[in-house]
């Protein structure tokens, strides 16, 4: 069952209403045989929509962009093989078809007629060469791991994917060979790392990063560093994401507070994130123009096996006891003013296949008695001593919920529990990477593409890159492999749900809540809908 997202539903209704009026007005036109340019252009509006953003942290090269500032611009100026709708569904964009018989050898055909803004055609090589470049070790791209499942990829030595996992068949066809079967491979092909690049990119990647040449719905017109980027509709764009406005101005803000004040003062049309300081008030201030819906961000905390009293069977009982001792409803309500949704699994409600009733998920319910019983059982094996600590980075606004969580644990279990702040994210992350954590620590995950497995394999599979707690379960690994090799995404999801049952038993991470998209828009714009990745679908927004 999918959570009914109020704002999403209203947006869909609004879109439907628009479509209806468009239909009726065009039939009127036919009746009166009017050829007035104004009325035939009833679809797109001409106003320029302004939205808040951030100065991209890296040059605008698809394989080197892994943060929201650059991602927002790339998604609007490039078109990949697929694109995602608001619900996280993937639709073919440049691709004509993405097919495979065994989920390991994929044949990708692309549509005719696509061009980059410099006039050169988008061909199979535009993709193959771009992926090859992004995967090369010597290019040290930030998103290189997106190519690691392709045959020929290596972190040890310089290895060209082209000729190994990637082959150009003809101008409009290429093949991909994966190291292992992955049924949900097509789902990830809308992510920016897989965007195509024109030939001119390879002459001077640095210059390209300043003025990218894309094939998307918009063109990057001007980019004033640290201030704003202006996007104009691409007249040659031929996909489904046709701009419904006269352009998008992305204004860069240092703080969300400044952006929110601009929205209130009518200087900004769309805000993609509401500042913490306005959580309690923004839904009143913006009324039905406020957005508060779950997003593809999963929050948790991890207690590694290496922490004393948390190994083996005893650790399992203690993790379950702690999970029962956290009052998720109350914390999301009181600390976050309802801008978090209590977790009911290890993924996110915006992902296709999500379920809130996986067997074993009752371990996430607040239950003081159960928590005490489980903790007492563990104490029979070996009495607990010491203080339970939960580490977090203090520069990310985490202190309030960490304090509430540790208090909740302390009150229910009667043990000493406290937060352990790190001054900065970099330092926090380093201790995790170096495996120096001697207690629990905060973990979070934002999906790169809307697939259940993107929340599972990278985090909990034995030896996976982001398996910060060094969790290892043969049963879980086996189910993930089976899911990956399944014939369809639906079949795959069944295995992934079973894999989650294993996680609920072992709790390699203790799910807390999903972060919500908090956003809003001004009365100047209509049809503002937020996508699965917390970013509004800006090409749909209308403004007159």
């Amino acid at each position: 069952m999918k959570i009914q997202r109020f704002a999403g539903v209203t947006a869909v209704i609004a879109a439907g209403a628009l479509a209806l009026t468009a239909c009726s007005s065009s039939s009127d036109d036919e009746g009166s045989t009017s050829t007035d340019g104004e009325t035939t252009a009833s679809g797109p509006s001409t106003g320029i929509v302004s939205v808040n953003g951030n100065e991209p942290q890296n040059p605008l090269v698809p394989a080197n962009t892994n943060e929201v500032g650059g991602g927002l611009l790339l998604d609007l100026t490039f078109s990949g093989l697929q694109y995602y709708d608001a619900e996280g569904g993937a639709h073919l964009e440049v691709a004509e078809s993405i097919e495979s018989d065994d989920a390991q050898n994929w044949t990708i055909k692309i549509k005719d007629g696509w061009t980059f803004s410099d006039g050169t055609p988008v061909t199979a090589s535009s993709f193959v060469d771009a992926w090859n470049w992004g995967a090369l070790l010597s290019n040290a791209t930030l998103s290189s791991y997106f190519f690691e499942s392709i045959e020929g990829f290596s972190y040890e030595e310089e290895s060209e994917l082209k000729g190994q996992g990637l082959e150009v068949v003809d101008d409009s066809t290429f093949t991909v060979k994966l190291k292992a079967p992955e049924a949900d491979f097509p789902l990830r092909l809308g992510y920016s790392a897989y965007f195509p690049l024109p030939e001119s990119f390879y002459d001077d990647p640095d210059a390209f990063g300043e003025a990218p040449i894309g094939n998307g719905p918009y063109l990057l017109d001007t980019w004033t560093h640290d201030a704003e980027a202006k996007l104009v509709p691409n007249p040659d764009y031929s996909g489904d994401r046709t701009p419904q406005n006269g352009g998008v101005d992305v204004k860069f803000y240092q703080t969300q507070d400044a952006a929110y004040n601009d929205l209130l003062a009518g200087q900004l049309d769309v805000i993609t994130a509401v500042p913490d300081s306005a959580f309690a008030t923004y839904q009143d201030e913006l009324g039905d123009r406020a957005v508060n819906q779950p997003s593809a961000v999963f929050q948790s905390f991890t207690i590694p096996e290496t922490v004393p009293h948390f190994e083996g069977e005893e650790g399992k009982l203690r993790r379950q006891a702690i999970s029962h001792a956290v009052n998720r409803e109350e914390i999301t309500d009181v600390i976050f003013d309802g801008t978090r949704t209590p977790a009911s699994d290890f993924t996110s409600p915006v992902i296709d296949g999500w379920s809130d009733s996986i067997p074993g998920s009752d371990v996430l319910e607040f239950d003081e008695q159960k928590a005490k019983d489980l903790w007492a059982q563990a104490d029979e094996m070996s009495p607990y001593e010491g203080t339970f600590t939960l580490a977090y980075n203090a520069d990310g606004g985490h202190q309030a919920w960490v304090d509430a969580t540790t208090n909740s644990i302390k009150n229910v279990l009667g043990i000493e529990a406290e937060g352990k702040p790190y001054p900065a994210f970099a330092e926090f992350r380093q201790d995790i990477t170096d495996r120096k954590m001697d207690g629990a620590f905060r973990t979070g995950w934002q999906a790169d593409y809307p697939a259940l497995n993107n929340f599972l394999a990278p985090l909990y599979k034995t030896g996976a890159g982001s398996n910060d707690g060094d969790y290892s379960s043969e049963e879980f690994d086996g189910l993930i492999d089976q899911g990956a090799a399944a014939d369809s995404v639906e079949d795959a999801n069944k295995f992934f749900q079973q894999a989650q049952e294993v996680l609920f038993e072992d709790l390699p991470a203790i799910p807390t809540w999903y972060s919500n998209v908090t956003g809003g828009s001004a009365e100047t714009v209509e049809n503002v809908e937020f996508g699965w990745n917390s970013v509004p679908l800006l090409y749909e927004v209308t403004k007159n």
Partner: protein
């Protein structure tokens, strides 16, 4: 003629000596800042990968690219070597640090100058009146005003001004962004200058009140000079010496201290650039930006010292 010539050459020698002093200060400041950034805990390269981190092979490559794999002193010497050829290095975002400074600095400079003019004009003006009417209603009112401004943290003043005048009343745009003009910078400049305004006011008021009872003022009045001339030439000019010292030091503080104000009003200035660079532990950017600020500070101080001679004929640099 000869005396004037000698005076000029002495002055030039003094200025040259002061400029020479910038070199050791510059070296010391860069070394200190570089080591501080180096000592910051955490790995900036891993942080580039966000929650996920980066694969070790990629992280190693990037570390080598930014010289972060070398010992501290080598990193610093490489940075200095770049400086000698006017190469400030490249930030993690791939932009030339010199370009970042060149685009952000004029905005901050304009903001700081506007704040300085506001605090100087209003601070001296109000301080002069308050000093001349010591103990009156005007004096008492501004005593309270200046105490409030000094006591309230600048971000509170900033948020209140932004919300009341920007959002509610709509007198100013609430943020600056790409639209850097005199008008959009006015609100942040007032906020930025507000605290120093209070100090300038207190300083002027006290020295004016003190100088009013000085012997030379009584003499000037006794010899029949008009009141405005007494105030202008004898009271104000002498009262300005400590104020000018304060303003000179304050110019440096305004540029470096604009981080908070620039954040609130979204001014794309040097404070914003510095904040971004510190968060990313981007040594070349942090060091270069702070060094520029140090140099500005030193030059402002030099100008202040030279102004002393103009204001007070008794001070000579020989």
């Amino acid at each position: 003629m000869a005396a004037t010539g000698r005076k000029v050459s002495l002055m030039a020698w003094y200025v040259a000596r002061r400029v020479m002093q910038l070199i050791p200060v510059f070296l010391g400041a860069t070394l200190l800042i570089y080591s501080l950034v180096f000592l910051l805990p955490g790995d900036p390269i891993q942080a580039l990968g966000g929650e996920r981190g980066l694969p070790p092979a990629v992280a190693d490559q990037l570390r080598a690219h930014y010289n972060l794999d070398k010992p501290f002193i080598i990193q610093y010497l490489l940075y200095l070597k770049g400086l000698l050829s006017f190469d400030l290095g490249v930030s993690f975002s791939g932009r030339e640090v010199s370009e970042i400074i060149a685009s952000a600095f004029p905005t901050t400079f304009q903001l700081a100058i506007m704040a300085l003019v506001i605090e100087a004009v209003f601070g001296v003006g109000v301080g002069l009146i308050a000093g001349m009417r010591k103990g009156g209603i005007f004096d008492a009112t501004f005593l309270v005003v200046s105490l409030i401004v000094i006591a309230v943290p600048i971000f509170v003043i900033g948020f209140v001004v932004q919300f009341v005048f920007g959002v509610k009343l709509g007198w100013f745009p609430p943020t600056v962004g790409s639209d850097v003009t005199f008008y959009t910078l006015l609100a942040p400049a007032i906020v930025l200058g507000s605290v120093s305004f209070a100090y300038v006011l207190r300083l002027t008021r006290t020295t004016v009140a003190e100088n009013l009872s000085a012997d030379y003022v009584r003499t000037a009045t006794a010899k029949g000079l008009a009141r405005p001339r007494v105030v202008r030439v004898h009271v104000l000019r002498n009262s300005l010496i400590p104020v000018v010292t304060f303003l000179g030091v304050d110019l440096g503080a305004l540029m470096g201290g604009a981080v908070v104000t620039e954040g609130i009003f979204n001014v794309p200035g040097i404070g914003n650039a510095l904040y971004t660079a510190i968060k990313a532990q981007d040594s070349p950017s942090v060091v270069s930006i702070v060094t520029v600020l140090v140099i500005v500070f030193l030059i402002a101080n030099l100008l202040v010292d030279l102004l002393y001679a103009v204001l007070d004929p008794r001070i000579r640099y020989a």
